[in-house]
Structure formats: structure tokens, C-alpha cells
């Protein structure tokens, strides 16, 4: 899942002309990775198209991840 998301992030960044960090670690702060909140929204919409789910609409306990590791964990937790 981690690799899939990372690959997808890089593809979107390239397509949209965004500069994102090449050294994405689990503790990289999402909003400091080169993705702003709009970029983050785009990533979630596009991941839904590929993976078929948006964890932020199905989670019972609302939670917004702050690091890349937390983001991946959310997708793993809610994978169908």
C-alpha cells in the first residue's frame, strides 16, 4: 500500500507540475511534503478512483493524518 500510494503521489505531482519531496519517510509531515491541502484533496480523490474507496468518508471515528505514515495507515486500516 505504501509503495502504491507513493508511486501515485509522484505521478500526480508530475502531471500537475508540483514539486514534492523525493525522500518521503513515514514521519514526513504531509503538508510539508510539497503537497498543500488542495494537493492532498486531489490525491484522495484520485486514490479513490484507483483503489475504489475513500477512507475519510467511511471512517467512524473522524481522524485527519498529519504524517505520510499516518496517511498510509488510514488506507491500510480501511481497505475493503
Amino acid at each position: 500500500m505504501r509503495d502504491k500510494i507513493l508511486k501515485f503521489m509522484q505521478e500526480i505531482a508530475e502531471e500537475s507540475g508540483w514539486q514534492i519531496t523525493s525522500d518521503m519517510k513515514d514521519d514526513t509531515v504531509l503538508l510539508e511534503s510539497g503537497l498543500d491541502s488542495f494537493g492532498f484533496a486531489v490525491l484522495v480523490v484520485k486514490l479513490e478512483e484507483v483503489l475504489g474507496y475513500d477512507p475519510f468518508t467511511i471512517m467512524e471515528d473522524p481522524y485527519y493524518p498529519r504524517t505520510f505514515g499516518e496517511f498510509v495507515a488510514v488506507y491500510e486500516k480501511y481497505a475493503p
Binding site: L31, F38, A41, V42, V45, K46, E49, D61, Y63, R66
Partner: protein, 441 residues
Amino acid sequence: MSEHCFFDVLNNHSRKCDCIFTSTSIYRVEDLLELSADIRSSARYNKGACVALSGLNPLQLITAIIALDGYVNGILLLPSTTDKATSDLLLHLAQCTHIVSSKSMVGEPIADFKATSDNGSTLWKLATSGTTGTPKIIEHTLASLSRTVKKGTANANVFHWGLLYDPARYAGLQVVLQALLSESRLTIPDLNEFSAKVSLLGKHGINALSATPSLWRKLLMDFNSEKLHLRQVTIGGEIADQMIINSLEKRFPHARITHIYASTEVGTGFAVTDRKAGFPSVWLDNPKAPVQMRVCKNDRLWIKPVITPQGRAILDRSDPDGYIDTEDLVRVTPDRVFFVGRVSGAINVGGNKVSPELIEETLRQVEGVVDARVYAKKSSIIGQVVAAEIVPLAEMDKILLRAQILAHCQSTLEKWQQPVVINFVKEMEVSGAGKIRRQIV
């Protein structure tokens, strides 16, 4: 309130009280009064003027409105993102006689209009993009803008507000008026980075904040928000869903959570504090409701403002009973009324309104695009994003066309206007009335 201008109201507050905090300074009430008095004494315009405020930083804007309310006939507040063409149109529509900018706080005359006689209450002219993208002017007064503001000294120094909005827009102005008229404090995070702004808000110990659901989500994702201990959480500007209300309730368990229905056109309609999305259905057609509301045919919400704003744009949307068509679509259930979108199909991307027609026009400019339909796609992070369906020329290579569309959009549109989802279809689906379908997906 109406007989007192902004300056006089502040003049009755405790002059030594700290009032506005920035990254470098603290301004007392007496400092604001002095800065405002300087603006009045050096002004190159007289009392009959209509003055546009353009490109001022938040502190300059606040001192200018304190100085000018009750002093000139009209104030036009130009949002910081206004482009030159829109700004020229708004200056003309508002019949401005002078323009005040950070380069010239004394005001430069504009040739087109002459100052008139002094008309009493100052009209605050706010710009709205309306539903068609064409800018319009809505005229308020300090009384209509501050109707729902809790005034007086009962809450003095209880709240310390943070300003995350542009104070030249309705929502930002509400925060400024709420803070200043209730003798509360206000922190202006005059820094560029969002995270640094949040850090400054925490450092100054703000306990009240107003933001859109998208801004709140961004704040919840920011580590610096851990330093915030809020007693008042205000949500506005976009539809507040149950998820964001629950998230804020969990993060700020001791805060009063209010979601506000307000627009430049109707002013502040009502506030909901029961921590549920939408508003109670019993408020419709109910004389005891906080504001008179009805849902008319086609599920449009109409509101009767307690103080009706002025201007042609309002007259065009009013009925004889004084109700204004909000152009918001609602879904009425036995218990609650939920907002579902705009009549025009306007897309709300994190508080920025996008006209689908404008984006469709841009898409049709790309060679190989026969037709385009733009609609809102729900986003769990930013409310809505722009999605597009494209009818391509039959022989076009779709991968190439997609790249050309993206390149064209990136060079001509703001980031938030660009389609996030692009699908190719053989033909466009139209409604019974022959119109493009624009429902949110």
C-alpha cells in the same frame, strides 16, 4: 448601535486594553483610535466621498474602516485576490470617488465620479462574485453587518479571536467586528506559511476561531494546532458535514461549536449550535425561528434578513414579502434541512467558488475537444473539486488530448479551478429541459 459609528463605539471602550496582536506588535484600543484619527486628518477626500480600500494589509484595513465609517458616504472593500479588470468594474459599480491603497493611505481621486452630499450612515459595499461569476456589489451598514455580534462589556476580554480570513470579505469582516465590538482581542497572523500562522495563534493564546470546513481540516492536520485550546469553534463558508463537526468536537471537547449560515447577500442568516449538520426543519415557516425561512419550488431556500442589505443585486432576488432567494438547494427531512449545493451548479472548492460555465469554455478552447461538461465531485478533504466530462473528436488520441487539456488548464486557470477528474464520453447527457446535467457526484 446604528446611530454610533465604529470610531465612536471603540472610543467608549477601555482605551488601555490590548486589542490587536500581530507577529511583532500589540495595539491597544487607543493605538487604533490614534491610527484612525490620523487617516481622517490626512484624508484627501471629504465626507461625501465613496472610498475604495484596495490591497491594504489587515491592520491597515481595520484602521481604515474604523476611520471611514460614519465619516464618508461609502466604503468599498476589495478582497485581496481581486484582479485588475474586476477591481475596475467594482470601482465603477460602487461609484467610488477615491481609492486608498497601501501606497496611498491619504486616497487618490478617481475621475469618473464626484463626491455627493453627506447621506448619514456609511454604506459598506462588499463584492460578491454572485452565481454567474459576474461581480456584484451588496450594500450593508455597520448595523446590518453587526446585527448578530454580541456587543457590550459582558464578554469583554473573555474571547481572543484569530483571523484566518481576508477581512475585506464578509466572513473575515464578521470576525473583526465580533472581536472589536465585543471588546475581545484579535490576533492577525501576518505571516505567509499556514503552519506559522497556526503557531502564532497558539502563541498568543487565541480561544476563538472561525474557518471554513476545508481550513479546519487543514488545521487538524497541522501539528501546531495542538497548541490551540479553543472555547469557540465557528464553521462557515461551505457546507458543514457531520464528519467535520465530529472531528472538531473530538479535538476541542470544551468548545462551543457553531456552524453559521451567512452570505454577502443575506448577511448572517442563522447559527446552529446543536453539533448536528444542517438545521432543524421546525425553523421553516416558523415565526419563532431565529430568521424567517421558507423552501420554495425546486428546493431553493429563501431567507428574510432581519436587516435587508441594499443594492440592485438584492432587488433582483427579492420577493414582495422581503424574502431573498439564497440560490442554495436544500433537502428537507422530517427533522433536519440539509444543504446540497448551489442552483447554478457553482462548485465550492475549499471556499473558492468556481463557475462550471467558465471552465467548460476553457476546455472547449483545446483542439480536439468537441464538448465539455463540468460538475462538482465531492471531496472529503476540501468539500468539492472540479470534475469534467469531455466529448473528444473521434480520431483523437486520448492520452495526448488529456495531456493537452491539463497543460491548457494549468496555464489559464487557478489551481482550484482545474479539473481534478477528467473522463472521456461519446456524447453529452442532457436533462429534459435540454440543459447539461450538473448534479454533484
